[in-house]
């Protein structure tokens, strides 16, 4: 007996500025394609249903839960994952701030928070604490109580981190 498996689909997409041509399963999520097909395991799965934000990536500039995007939807799209945050060997200020402020403990949620935080600052360089909290409310962290995460993002917004 064999399972009827729909054929894979060629996917041409840009990930972290690099062109990718992947063969993805039509029912595969973008999260699975990033991890299993592109080998980018920095993006994490915490729940698989949009509830935790650990799978957050920027899709055409906007933060989305990659566990709720089908891989073939990324056709001709632009994706940025945590692996693409540092540019030319220079860390994103958020990456520095998270390290310096102790905004990560176990670190499983960190890639998702960094992407959500990047999106906040991209749309609003000087967010209030409330705006920051709203912008990361779709990301669960169980280790930090969010205090140091919020402070790290505030530090970047205030230009305290280069």
């Amino acid at each position: 007996m064999a399972l009827r498996i729909p054929p894979r689909i060629p996917l041409r997409t840009t990930i972290n500025g690099d062109p990718y041509e992947l063969m993805v399963k039509p029912y595969q999520t973008l999260l699975e394609a990033l991890r299993d097909e592109a080998g980018l395991t920095g993006t994490k799965e915490g729940c698989g249903n949009g509830n935790c934000g650990s799978c957050t990536v920027l899709f055409n500039g906007l933060p989305v839960n990659s566990c709720l995007v089908l891989a073939p939807e990324a056709q001709d799209g632009h994706i940025v994952t945590v692996e693409g945050l540092a540019k030319d060997g220079r860390l994103d200020p958020l990456q520095k701030a998270f390290s310096q402020h102790g905004a990560l403990q176990c670190g499983i949620c960190t890639p998702g928070f960094l992407m959500a935080a990047r999106a906040i600052l991209d749309s609003n360089p000087h967010p209030s604490e409330k705006v920051i909290r709203a912008g990361i409310a779709g990301n669960l962290c169980r280790c930090t109580g969010y205090d140091k995460i919020v402070r790290a993002i505030m530090a970047v917004a205030r230009g305290e981190v280069d």
Partner: protein, 774 residues
Amino acid sequence: MTGRKEPRYVGKRVIKADALEKVTGAALFGADARLPGMLHGKVLRSPHPHARIRAIDCGKALELEGVKAVVTVADLPPFEEAKAAFGGELMIDQVHLRKLTIAHDKALFEGHAIAAVAATSPEVAEAALELIQVDYELLPVVENALDAMKEGAPLLHEDLYTDTLGERPKAPSNIASIIEGGWGDVDKGFAEADVVLEKSYETQMVHQGYIEPQACLASVDADGNVTVWVSTQGTFNAQRQLSALLMIPLHKLNVVPLEIGGGFGGKIYVMLETLAILLARKSGRPVKMVMTRAEVFRGTGPGSPAYIDVKIGAKRDGHLTACYAKMILDAGAFPGSPVAGAFMVGFAPYKMPHFKQEGYDVVTNKPRVQAYRAPGGTAVAFAVESALDQVAEALGIDPLELRRINAVEEGDLMTSGQKYNRIGLKQLLERVAQHPAWTQPSSGPNRGRGLALGAWQGAVLTTTAQVIANTDGTVTVVTGQVDVTGTRTTIQQMTAELLELPLELVKVNVVDTHSAPYTDLSAGSRTTYTMSVALKNGCQDLVAHMKRLAADLLSHPESKVRPEDVNYSNGRFWASRGSEQPSVSWREVAERSRTRGPLVGQGNSGRLPPAPTFAAHVADVEVDQETGKVRLLRYTCFQEVGKAINPQQVEGQMQGGAGQGIGWGLFEYYFYQQGKLLNPTFLDYRMPTALDLPMLDSVLVEVPASEGPFGARGVGEVPIVPPAAALANAIYRAVGVRMSRLPMTPENVYWALQEKGAGVTPRGHAPVSSSRGS
């Protein structure tokens, strides 16, 4: 290694050793491991909370193309060693762990593993699960501990007899054990009291809520050597369990730690690992297994629900005369609820002339609980600290004052009856009394402030580390102690401090079970405390070795330097007499290990007394009288931490623990109906989001522990103990209702308000599994 100096690294906010790996996405967690040719494993779980398994037919599943192996209980090697206790925080015996790993004759909870499949893709494995036919005979469900204890309740285990200190009972029961503790004569104490308060409390099953689901990868080579990559709180612990379950000697079983995406007590016993190894063995290929979130909720070990009756007597001047608690803790499907933890915590901060507690460990048709940060502590503190608040009110004494009057000091008794060594509860409470979080008034309608204390004694166990002097003058610390809370960083700090070497020269390597000697698990707030002692011993050992080499280097043919005459400080070995050349550098000595043999300091924590810790939390809330919703306005955690090796990480522990405790207090619970979990998602199992919490102010008070080179205490667990009670007390001050059941969801607060306002019977939106008070 000379006398006390101003510390260079200890007490500093050193950036986490693993920060860079984690902010770049490079760190490898449980689900990130992969091997060529690996298969994907999936678990068939019981949809029924209680059922006899009449037959399992895997025939069709095996016929599916791509399926490489199916395992059931029949694949477990026969059980040999009777009742091998594992010790530690695990509290599960071997027979039960086997039955928990994979159902034997009965499924005992919804989510109990029945069979597992390995296939060439996750989708084939999933499809195969649906082809496995299980013939279940449904049995009546035992939903909660109170029902379980009733006469004639359906039995989970026909061979479970209540363990009391007396003789063995005649009939089996769902009560696994009854324990008692205390001193004096509580009846006498209550008779002497001016005020006696008696009340019952209830808490629900909750989950640790680590964001990383359980995951592992197992591989078996042609010689039968097994390697498992896994995120776990203790690799040696996992290794011992697997060895016992699968009858594999330790030298053929290697457990490799991956980054752990949160554990909080929930990643202590093996689950998927056993099945993955069996599948890998049977298929001859590596097998990877990852749980879904729903599986995590249903199939792992959550935190224990509790029913707690408290009775407290006090004199008019506030002195306690007697304290009593009866605690019924639900262990889920197999014995081992954290009654002992609850015993340790509840009344620990207080001097009590007369004291008694009784504990019941009870089995029900729910997942077998595991430890959850200060296991047992949050529930019992919710009860005791709420009750004390009422005693304070009845006596007209300020709640902080009442606690100060009764606070324990060195020499007073711990709940175990042993004496406290150096503790800092008085200093902690003094700090609270002076802090604006307490002194500034909380004002406004429907607003109130609550205070609660928490205690945690901490586990001790044994910790090992090896300190290796590399030939270029750098130092590697090798340990099997997995880093759950930032210990790589604190090990680096402490080692550099102890060796008086620059921080950058020290690297910490957390290795697998075949690359380091045994060390106990990372849990129970024990890691930093015991590690500080292991490192002190390891560094002393290393320096002693090096002094011998240094002595040779400093000697001349005419004047021989003896090792006892060599001093070490700040990276140099000095001859105190008898040599013309005054010193050699660390590096010069280390270089000699190329020809003179290994320079390794063996560090072992040995036997240590506990280093108890205390916390006091202050919560300001506002309650919406019309909806019952509680809004947190301000939250301050005070904690006595001994010595904060890394204050930033200590604050992180305090804030994380407080966040979990607040979630437990306000939102979180397993919603069961007939033994089936109705909220196995993060949408309906509501953990706090960033919008639900304010900044969590942390105030560290340092009273050094009596043991250890720096006076560090375990700080990780106690912060989850006070929050629920602090919130309950704040809600009372805000709107005048005493919440006796967790969580204090808007609906539960709403009904409590209705009851107070109009004498309406509360219809608390109780989880269906709880039968009291609803």
